[in-house]
């Protein structure tokens, strides 16, 4: 965008209005992607005509979709261990991904503490093989928790 700025805005203001207030898109650029939030944990939005909510912290525009490219660059896991050096929670993402591929949920949960993942995105960012680690963990965590809830609900009956 032309000038990155801070705004105090009411809930319900759309991103498009915010962008206009900040001076619009930089000349010669077409945004390929808009994020509600920052580049790491932000959620992509399909259009700018989305109202902000009380938990919206930022609008990020990307002229270049890095994820699209990363999908093409993806190679096999090298077991380089860069993900485990970067993980703020001390997990070993590469082994967690292996456990997911082998559908070994028990190892994922008890031995690798997979549910401790905070989905910060650091492992995906640093992975030289461009593997979508965080995305896998988010999904797996949701699945495991859903299954647990179902089991609990079943037990209560």
């Amino acid at each position: 965008m032309q000038t990155p700025s801070n705004f105090i805005a009411r809930d319900g203001t759309t991103f498009a209005q915010l962008l206009e207030a900040s001076g619009g898109v930089k000349a010669g650029c077409t945004p390929k992607k808009a994020l509600s939030g920052g580049p790491m944990m932000g959620v992509a939005v399909a259009s700018l005509d989305v109202p902000i909510q009380k938990n919206t912290n930022a609008l990020t525009l990307l002229a270049d979709d890095r994820v699209e490219k990363a999908e093409k660059e993806m190679t096999a896991c090298l077991h380089c261990g860069r993900c485990s050096t970067i993980c703020p929670n001390g997990l070993v993402p590469a082994l967690m991904a292996d456990a997911i591929n082998m559908k070994n949920w028990e190892r994922y949960e008890t031995k690798l503490y997979g549910l401790e993942c905070i989905a910060c995105g650091s492992c995906t960012y640093i992975c030289p093989a461009r593997r979508p680690l965080t995305q896998m963990f988010k999904q797996t965590k949701a699945e495991i928790l859903a299954r647990k809830r179902a089991a609990q609900a079943g037990g209560r009956k």
């Binding site: 498009a16 962008l19 390929k32 992607k33 808009a34 994020l35 939030g37 580049p39 790491m40 944990m41 932000g42 959620v43 992509a44 939005v45 399909a46 259009s47 700018l48 005509d49 990020t60 990307l62 979709d65 890095r66 994820v67 699209e68 490219k69 990363a70 660059e73 190679t75 096999a76 896991c77 090298l78 077991h79 380089c80 261990g81 860069r82 485990s84 050096t85 929670n89 001390g90 997990l91 070993v92 590469a94 082994l95 031995k111 690798l112 503490y113 401790e116 995105g121 650091s122 995906t124 960012y125 640093i126 992975c127 030289p128 093989a129 461009r130 979508p132 965080t134 995305q135 988010k138």
Partner: protein, 513 residues
């Protein structure tokens, strides 16, 4: 603003470091050692390197095309494998060796197990060991400008002093990537840029040094330790081979454990095995342990570390049988059983083996003193036999047995001694020497010779052995009285030293009195 924007799950940015970028950095880090190797060993080293790298990349390219896999040859991992293989080869290696080695590394070790990231041992090292086993002759020709001589590591194994400075710079005989200086530059740079894990390479070096100091027999002698660290690919192994991503554990704890395992195994193999290639094998063995390490040794996340401490301090202690993983117990039991079985077989067959040895010795005496009908042992000289190293200047030589040969009428026709030199390239060399009463050597015969086929074993051929017969001298000199075999310096020396010790024993202790 109505056009559709791209949607995807975050994070939406990626590091610039990609697989091929890392591979290029590793290639770059290997350059100092490569360049020094080419300068030291000449143009042939360059051909070996080029052949190896090109074959490796081509093999992967062909495999990718044939199997319709994504183009993994472009990412540079095949080139790294090829270069590493070349660096572990001697500059004198004939060019077919790197070709076969690279094809083996890429096709069998890497692609057959699922390609990049799936190989179970380090491809370059596996290929080196494959070549060592398949072409022992071609693989063990070391030397500069065709002057054959023993490698520093072989000299070290034989207990001699070596020149550490030349080993450090890489001008000592050895492999192309033998320059410790070049390897250290590259390795430390990789470590500084966080490409390799410090906990692996430094625990390898630490474990190796400590074990060598404790059990190497020479204590904390800096010269001895430095020589061992500089020789036999310890640095190449620690910085480039052991840290290979695919075949090293993922968690920090596991990596440290793995590094120490390599260091200790390498030192153990070197002390007990007397082989210059101990480090290649120790890394391969440790590679095989990696899946086990990765399964059982995983760092705890921060939230769980304090609880683990509590368990350790005794607040919630699990029984021992539950704390040790089952496969570990099973493996230990299997190791124990096979150890017992081996020692059982050994003790059962020992008496038979001894009989066979005695028969072989008797036959050897007969060969070197054909005129003798019977042999009498020198029981009064028994204090010279066994135990102590005989004389000075012969190296670690032991007189095993001494006999007087008599003909049918009971007249003395000659003397026979059995001498062992512990300085063979591959352990003991034992031979019998027969000397007639006038001091002329009748001949020599080996009762124990297990050197490299086509190299040290040539000493057991008539071309070498027959040189001794008919010589009448107090001492023989290698190169004058006896022609050594090119490239077999150590064994030739050991044989001549053993013969000299035997001659000295006969002249001073038997005939002299």
């Amino acid at each position: 603003m109505n056009q559709r924007l791209n949607l995807s799950a975050g994070p939406h940015v990626r590091d610039i470091w990609s697989t091929s970028f890392i591979m290029k950095m590793v290639l770059l880090a290997l350059m100092p050692a490569t360049v020094i190797g080419i300068i030291t060993f000449g143009l042939h080293a360059l051909w070996v390197i080029l052949t190896s790298v090109i074959t490796a990349v081509l093999t992967e390219l062909v495999f990718d095309k044939l199997t319709g896999k994504p183009d993994s040859w472009k990412d540079g991992s095949a080139a790294v494998t090829g270069l590493m293989l070349a660096l572990t080869l001697s500059a004198e290696t004939p060019l077919y060796a790197p070709v076969i080695g690279s094809i083996f590394a890429i096709l069998v070790v890497k692609c057959a197990f699922g390609g990049l990231g799936k190989n179970f041992v380090n491809p370059a090292l596996a290929a080196r060991c494959f070549l060592l086993i398949s072409f022992p002759n071609a693989m063990t020709v070391y030397g500069i400008d065709g002057v054959a001589s023993a490698t520093p590591c072989a000299e070290l194994a034989a207990g001699r002093v070596v020149d550490i400075t030349s080993m450090f710079l890489g001008s000592a005989n050895g492999v192309i990537g033998g320059s410790i200086l070049g390897l250290m530059i590259g390795g430390l740079a990789l470590w500084a840029f966080d490409i390799i894990h410090g906990q692996i390479c430094f625990s390898v070096l630490g474990g190796f040094t400590l074990f060598m100091a404790l059990f190497g027999g020479q204590g904390f002698d800096p010269g001895f330790l430095a020589a061992h660290l500089c020789g036999g690919g310890v640095v190449l192994g620690a910085f480039f081979m052991a840290t290979d991503y695919v075949t090293s554990p993922m968690s920090r704890l596991g990596q440290t454990f793995y590094g120490v395992l390599i260091g200790v195994l390498g030192a153990l193999f070197r002390i007990k095995g007397q082989s210059a290639d101990s480090f290649s094998y120790s890394i391969i063995v440790a590679n095989l342990f990696v899946p086990l390490i990765d399964t059982y040794i995983v760092d705890k996340p921060y939230a769980f570390r304090r609880r683990a401490l509590k368990i350790r301090s005794g607040e919630a202690k699990k029984p021992l049988s539950q704390r040790i993983p089952k496969p570990v117990i099973a493996l230990s039991v299997i190791a124990l059983l096979s150890g017992l079985a081996l020692s059982g077989v050994f003790s059962m067959t020992k008496s038979t083996i001894d009989e066979q040895k005695n028969a072989a010795a008797a036959a050897a005496y007969k060969t070197v003193l054909p005129e003798a009908e019977s042999f009498e042992s020198f029981s009064d000289k028994v204090e010279f036999l066994g135990g102590e190293v005989y004389g000075t200047g012969y190296g670690r030589v032991y007189i095993k047995d001494a006999l007087v040969g008599k003909d049918a009428a009971g007249n003395v026709v000659g003397y026979a001694v059995s001498v062992t030199s512990a300085e063979g390239y591959d352990g003991n060399v034992t031979l019998s020497i027969g000397v007639s009463t006038d001091g002329v050597i009748n001949g020599i015969s080996f009762t124990e010779l297990h050197e490299t086929p086509g190299k040290g074993m040539l000493c057991g051929e008539p071309a070498f052995m027959d040189q001794f017969a008919g010589k009448q001298a107090d001492q023989l000199t290698l190169g004058e009285d006896v022609d050594g075999i090119t490239g077999v310096t150590i064994t030739s020396k050991a044989v001549v030293n053993a013969v000299n010790a035997g001659l000295d024993f006969i002249n001073t202790k038997i005939r002299g009195e």
